[in-house]
Symmetry: D2
Subunit: 380 residues, 4 copies
């Protein structure tokens, strides 16, 4: 399936990617659905969607091969529907919901018919990396809840069929399923972020203002919102690693191919030591990242995605891979020389889009702190 995916990305997705990056075609939901349909035709849709909802339900080791192949294009993961936040939301909905919720929310989501979002992050002094700072409040009202609070950097909120809102209750943080047409929820604006290619719904400011939901809107149990968020993290981080690693592999190849056949200072650039160093460092970073991704996938499969080992290894993988991907893309730009900052050659766009990867789902600094704490705990 990885090979099929690679072919699909090369033949179907990459031409669309070029239209978006070079010709300014807009990445919107119509285009997303077109790509999803093509992925279904090609038999590669849904590597992580459950089998009962039309996906492949691959384990993490299986996903690794497919998602790296899908990641070769900025929009490949959208086509296969293995991209944030839907990937994590599919895991979450499959694990923690009632049959009715699964029917209503998971079925169309897993099938790629709709998109979703998850509203956790808040403007200061609300929660960013530290979940204990959650301020959005859900209070009891007859037959349900009223949610009020401000969220921002909510990926995909604009156009999502539903949003999973995390809010404080007396019993602790709780997740609520909020339909897009709920009048109490409003997408205030798309924030002007660096990346736009791969987020058809942008990264949004979302306001909840006395947003009323029924009791059956609670996802899982009241008060367990952070546990669900935690459970979502390791898979979600690993998915990102796979997707972005695929993009870095592509950039590496694009850059090396660009260099081949070019000359300067009387020799092929491929014979210049400093160009070789850039290419070799890319190859080395990618090999280490790939080995780490596969090893982490094995941990998630064998010890469970919510195990302490999984959380530790996924935090390590996210930190290493996000930084390695950044280095690889940066070197790819450098290998293109002046053309490297020209979006014609895509690597410029790749670099810009990738910057957020070192921040979202845990900035490197927060992940390093958590990794160190686990090391000390293990020894202490």
């Amino acid at each position: 399936m990885a090979e099929r995916t690679a072919r699909f990305v090369r033949d179907v997705v990459v031409p669309v990617e070029r239209e978006i990056v070079v010709d300014g075609r807009r990445m919107d939901d119509a285009l997303r659905l077109e790509l999803v349909a093509a992925a279904k035709d090609a038999g590669v849709f849904g590597p992580l969607s459950p089998v009962e909802y039309g996906g492949f339900g691959l384990d993490f080791r299986g996903q690794a091969h497919v998602l790296i192949a899908a990641g070769a294009s900025l929009v490949g993961p959208l086509a296969l529907h293995c991209w944030a936040p839907d990937d994590g939301n599919i895991h979450l909905l499959a694990d923690a919901t009632t049959p009715a919720q699964r029917e209503r929310y998971l079925a169309p989501l897993a099938a790629g018919e709709v998109r979703s979002s998850i509203a956790m992050t808040e403007p200061a002094p609300g929660t960013g990396s530290d979940p204990s700072m959650l301020r959005t409040l859900a209070t009891r009202v007859p037959g349900g809840w009223s949610i009020t609070g401000a969220k921002h950097l909510i990926t995909g909120a604009d156009g999502a069929a539903f949003t999973i809102c995390v809010a404080r209750t007396d019993a602790g943080p709780t997740m609520f399923l909020v339909d897009a047409d709920n009048p109490g929820m409003r997408v205030v604006r798309r924030m002007p972020t660096l990346d736009f290619t791969s987020a058809p719904g942008g990264h949004c400011e979302v306001a909840f203002d006395d947003c009323r939901v029924d009791d059956d809107a609670v996802l899982g149990e009241v008060g367990l919102g952070l546990e669900y968020a935690q459970a979502r993290l390791a898979p979600s981080r690993l998915t990102f690693c796979m997707n972005w690693l695929g993009l870095a592999v592509r950039a590496h190849v694009l850059a090396a191919e660009h260099v081949l056949g070019r000359h300067s200072f009387g020799a092929p650039i491929a014979e210049h030591g400093m160009a070789q160093a850039l290419v070799a460092d890319n190859e080395i970073d990618l090999a280490a990242a790939r080995a780490l991704v596969h090893a982490t996938a094995a941990t998630l499969d064998l010890q469970g995605a919510t195990s302490s080992a999984a959380r530790h290894d996924a935090a390590i993988a996210k930190t290493f891979v996000s930084e390695a991907v950044w280095r690889v893309l940066d070197r790819a730009v450098q290998l293109f020389g002046g053309l490297g900052v020209c979006e014609d050659h895509l690597v410029a766009r790749f670099l810009v889009e990738a910057r957020a990867f070192r921040i979202y789902e845990g900035p490197s600094e927060v992940l390093r702190a958590s990794v160190a704490r686990r090391v000390f705990r293990r020894l202490g």
Copy 2:
């Protein structure tokens, strides 16, 4: 004057910058002229323009203070008219032209009334970093020359009043002054580069097709084009260092201010060791870059801008400062967290615009090779 510049940038330029980055105002020539007029009003226009053309004609040590202050905004150097390629072209025209050429080209350029460009770089297999690969050809025709060739990545070509075209002749590479309305020169397109804020004329593909110029269009002497290009390099590289250093200083301050007053994990972020490391590394990089810029300015002043020492020191400064600026901007983004990739806070835009600085006027790899060769020559 540095303080006056700092005030001008803060009060006049920064609000415009925000309109451009956040509100999408276009950086075009009307806006550039508006900024130039404001700079003249504020008494800060033209730090490097000759005194006889209305500038301050500062030496490099003097420029350092002013240009770092100007660089605090992406469009500050445009307002003061100390930005590429005009800065280098002013030096070049002041040094190597006839009185008539100075009157016709330098006077309006130094006064900021017009912009200029210099057309050196060519698509492969033409010249990039290696000037010996120059392919654009200038051949003798009665009373002048016919120039034919393709150029690309020509900064500011679109809208420039004139372009200095570097072309091969039988006597060697030669520079020609080509007016914008010359029918043999055509701006093919603006290339879709990452930076747009600070280049009102874009980075362009330019075609010369039997482009006829008179004998008096020759800049300096026939056959000395590379010598002039070389002479232009050290000042031009140092100007960039000053401007970009100013921007990095600003990003550092923006990021540190952003962190102040914020909390996470039960403590002010300013007390988190990893945030302190980012801030300290920025402060350290900036201190080293600043010291190097001032030391290099002294070399250019005391040993001459075309001396071997000047070329060596400017290559060192360009390599170090461009990489230090990149690190500082990248850390500033990281300190902003999720908001760091959102253009609201400017540092995201700064990072993207700065990527080219490690490539143009000599990619780091080419500069390192030249630095090492000089080290070996000194010892050999």
Copy 3:
């Protein structure tokens, strides 16, 4: 067996290591034989020695676990006899020798009764990283060969039972088995290298002066010396990665344990962000290195140790792991503060001994060039 090895190293080897590093006990052959005997008693001797000679004959994936455990002490690999150059020589002798040679040389070597060396590297202008520069000459004499040339940096030559000398013949580079008592071979001196703990025979200058050997001293076929050297490389590089990775893991644990329980500036050092960053970076580097080592071991097992994939992957692993180990040891020193440069705590000694790992068996620069060439070849 990895667990057995870990216990053996902890209980038996580490106390000896402390005597060597802290108390100045000399690492000589008597001590080496003592350690070997202890390893045999503990049932951990010979992970890579062939089964018929008393070893375990583990494949590379199996070796990875055991050799990382053995590497936890500087002298662990000597005890298990999986240390350079004997590890590579065992591979070489097992693959390319006659039964008689195996009996005479491999049997006692694989059993750890004797040590060996391989004499390839020469003083300039002889061969260093570039095998084509080999200058030591072997010429035909009746019934055998006469070898003349100078070698240096020959690990373990002093006290080795035999040395494999690589010399040029008319038919190409050739390997010769030279007994220690051959009067034509002389250990000129032990070179004053930084590492001494783990090399009982030092790194020596060796002179061959009309050194006479019989025809049956030829290892394998005349003219195939470089092929054998090449074949030896991937396993040898990977063995180093395993051993040194084990040492880095130990240093990481020593440093984290040292930090635990200490305070400064009003908080446990383990809560200081910059200490956490050092610990986390060690954990991350080690995880990536371990994943890469296991993945490379799989390549060697599945595609053959002399396959092009094995050579590529081993070159990548050697480059990454040698640099990661260096970073980890350096951070471990830093975590110990002032005590970090004091050999009482071992990490200072580990750092010093490890410096050569980024150079021998291919300096990082030479490996990067070969990695890049293979990338270009694959694409070209």
Copy 4:
């Protein structure tokens, strides 16, 4: 005087250094006095000793040139007597002592006749980087004080004529001048640190056990010990930067000269891109470090060595220069290839000796925290 110093180091000091590093000559006080005498003969002794005690009393900008020249050899600063801890102790004694103390302690010290030490650092849980953790106690006894406590990592204690002991009193931390023959002070042992070449008195454990001193042993005022220690810091850090920068310059030249004339893979190594990158990075790091050292010297001269600006800039310089020196020495080793880890070529020894520079007088992590705090304070 810088040129005279450079000549002196080259002609007189470097041969001695080779005897120490390569031939094992011991760096003891007899040798130190021999070198001091030679420096006096050469007219270069005492760049920072006060003029009235036979030194040159240079300001920091003047010192920069001379101390960089002196640092070209590991033992050059000992010869010129501008090496820790005597450099800082001379500053301290010149500023904060009574005339009688100056006569008794400063006069012979400034003249290089004796060595001194300063006993601040203590084993855990005593003070390391955090001065508030000082545990050594000085209590009032009739006519004087009794000091009790344990110190370690006390540079030069063995053989020092006197030691400045920092101890807690009721009135706060206080400095005491303790003569070497005081029976209450005992050098327990020289600690087995990595560096030995440049510390004739080692780094020692020192025990104070009811160590009696008279009232006139108090250095400056009771309770101001930390203020004096603070005042000593900026000059002391900057001196280190100068000395070590000189060594890194020498290693850079040694490595580049080694490479010149050597070949591999069919070309001079000096033409290999990756070797050029190492050489260029050294040249760049050294240029930045040098510019920063001179700029910091100017701050100390113009704003005072105890000003907040001086402390900030010296902390920045120490952090940057100690890390740059380490990188330069490490690259120099790499450029020597296998010979780089062989002490014959000195750079191996330089690297090992330099490791402590990133730790003593403030580890990089502690300095970064203080730099960041000052940045936040400036803005807050």
